[in-house]
Symmetry: C2
Subunit: 438 residues, 2 copies
Amino acid sequence: MKPVKVGLLGLGTVGGGTFNVLRRNAAEIARRAGRGIEIVHAAAREYDPARLPGIEGIQVSDDAFKVVDDPEIDIIVELIGGYSPAKELVLRAIGNGKHVVTANKALIALHGNEIFKAAQDQGLMVAFEAAVGGGIPIIKAVREGLAANQIEWMAGIINGTGNFILTEMRDKGRDFADVLAEAQALGYAEADPTFDVEGIDAAHKLTILASIAFGVPLQFDRTYTEGISNITRDDVAYAGELGYRIKHLGFSRRTPDGIELRVHPTLIPERRLIANVDGVMNAVLVKGDAVGPTLYYGAGAGAEPTASAVVADIVDVTRVLTADPENRVPHLAFQPDALSDTPILPMEAVETAYYLRLCAQDKPGVLSDVTRILAQRAISIEAILQKEPVEGATRVPVIILTHRVTEGAMNEAIAAIEALEHIEDKVTRIRLEHLDAS
Amino acid sequence: MKPVKVGLLGLGTVGGGTFNVLRRNAAEIARRAGRGIEIVHAAAREYDPARLPGIEGIQVSDDAFKVVDDPEIDIIVELIGGYSPAKELVLRAIGNGKHVVTANKALIALHGNEIFKAAQDQGLMVAFEAAVGGGIPIIKAVREGLAANQIEWMAGIINGTGNFILTEMRDKGRDFADVLAEAQALGYAEADPTFDVEGIDAAHKLTILASIAFGVPLQFDRTYTEGISNITRDDVAYAGELGYRIKHLGFSRRTPDGIELRVHPTLIPERRLIANVDGVMNAVLVKGDAVGPTLYYGAGAGAEPTASAVVADIVDVTRVLTADPENRVPHLAFQPDALSDTPILPMEAVETAYYLRLCAQDKPGVLSDVTRILAQRAISIEAILQKEPVEGATRVPVIILTHRVTEGAMNEAIAAIEALEHIEDKVTRIRLEHLDAS
């Protein structure tokens, strides 16, 4: 069979990785795919030919639209990132009758519904395995491997930068700002770390995962997002004393009233496998009604791990190039006309357990006031940790773990606690999930 | 589209689970597959209708060949297990032009080459996700999700019974025989536990994994297999003191000289994620050249976890029923004419690190004799743990961890050590793998 012809948009980290993996493993990949995969045209404003042996053999344009309009090309691989011109390029590629592979989570999370509709209308595929969890084949696992299941919930460590920071804070007792500065120096974190540490990147990925798990349209704007920049090393240490680790989780659960969709720091029991996923590594824990809990672990970013997912998508697209579009795996796992209008649950209605840290004056009766406020709202306490006041200090930290309760009830309780005379500062609230098999 | 018609061979644990999952999640599955999946005919000698609500609506034959010969059926799902009549049934189904889904690892490991050839000749698919790792979509992950990679090695905990036994031995300091008896009482282990504890079941699964990872024919008879029945609670405890856990691993690695294919007890560093996979759970760690290390975790057995994989295969087959056979994912990941004749490495040529436990008389010079024997064969020592003799005892256990060396050299060294005057009994030898990213 003739080789499949690929146009590559971007020769940066992931684009360069894709070029190199396709070239290095060309024989192995052709043995699997049954035909060669050939990059014939790439787009890049600037690139380093020394990092890309063989690049001199292909046409490189500085205008990505030239590649998208190249009639020779079967598949466009979009690795530029960002919203624009990525969106215009992808839609134009579809308009030109080309299949698309992309690693662009922001694009899919925000504009995926429109892009998939355009592809569907043309009988084309848009593949996006690399958009979530880097090289981990998590989209394929959930979309195809768990197709028998009603997915009940998913919990993912899906931002490597955030996980690196929390791991260092725990292992070395360091402060958030200190580790972030190091992560920036190491190149793990961007100069503007907002997307990573404030959970936006994780929310993009969770939006995509939830759609393929639950068969709902992509709804990034309904995702609750809270970052890790307020986590202190004390919280990390107290959580550890209680047998928990703090991870920045993307969490989504199907409930009778709607779908929970939330990214926030979360205490999880340290004996869970996912609690032991450290450094820049990613993992997603998926609970299906038939299969039970399953976990997928690997590098969530980086040139070649991401390229691994991009190339797997190219092979998948290559396989179905000539197949009847009706028999393909649907973009969002469920057939487009079978998506559900199950609502996303508002955060106030979400039920979870909580870690609360209060700063109380060392006076009798304070703890009794706090526990009364919780009891009045039927919030049961799982554990209390009262630290000894430091010599001469008049304030003591009190840590309370609660059982599950709605966010709305907890908001009220926290407001009442903060109004108490002997409570200083705001209450620190970190959500807690047991992630057990039930 | 018309529903796909399925014939189910077997209504035991996995057959019953498959029947129930397909029925309970029928709507969800049809939303994914784009058409209904309907069991129209099942085969079972005896079954409990109370466990199978809805079974009264379908034809049940006591002769499985009747199902295989039923002209109405598109896909045969073989869940009888064993070699015969499973093999005859599968080949007859293929002869009748039906696609096949099976959970039968023994059948695939031993007769897969012949079965896939027959299916290939007829343009049919044989899907076998449930044969390895129960509900974990590990076949799909390696065959499709990692298609960009040269797989370097794989390490799997792929027998739940063995992992349960080793976990209990470690957690509770119990003896092998004691835990095995409990596992049998709990139904985790068969009355004849040979397949599980002697590694045969794991070897079946490893044979399959290695074929799809490395693109070689199935070669069960070349798999080195060693069980866990000789592991003592002392070995488990000493390994723990040294920072390791003992797991019954299936391990396969590509080397320049051939492919390692081996199942044996293995020390692995306790900080590795896979070292923390406990109880009856399974996990496979796969190292690809592009993606790096990835891990897949879940229930390796049980009615519904296994059914999850069986039904995912049915959905996959359903999708490609009308597709061009040349564009399908090949049975063993690589195109049939692109399989490699890379040999399986003989065990003597395998290189690994070792845990050795000697029983030495408490006399001066013994340790020096042992280390001399190792040094003469260029075997370097990573750690030595010499236990205090118990009050009044004249024998002391000595534990040695070595660096990597060939099995052949280690066999010679062990023979020389056992010939020493002051060494009693046989030397206990457990292989050790660091499973680091390199």
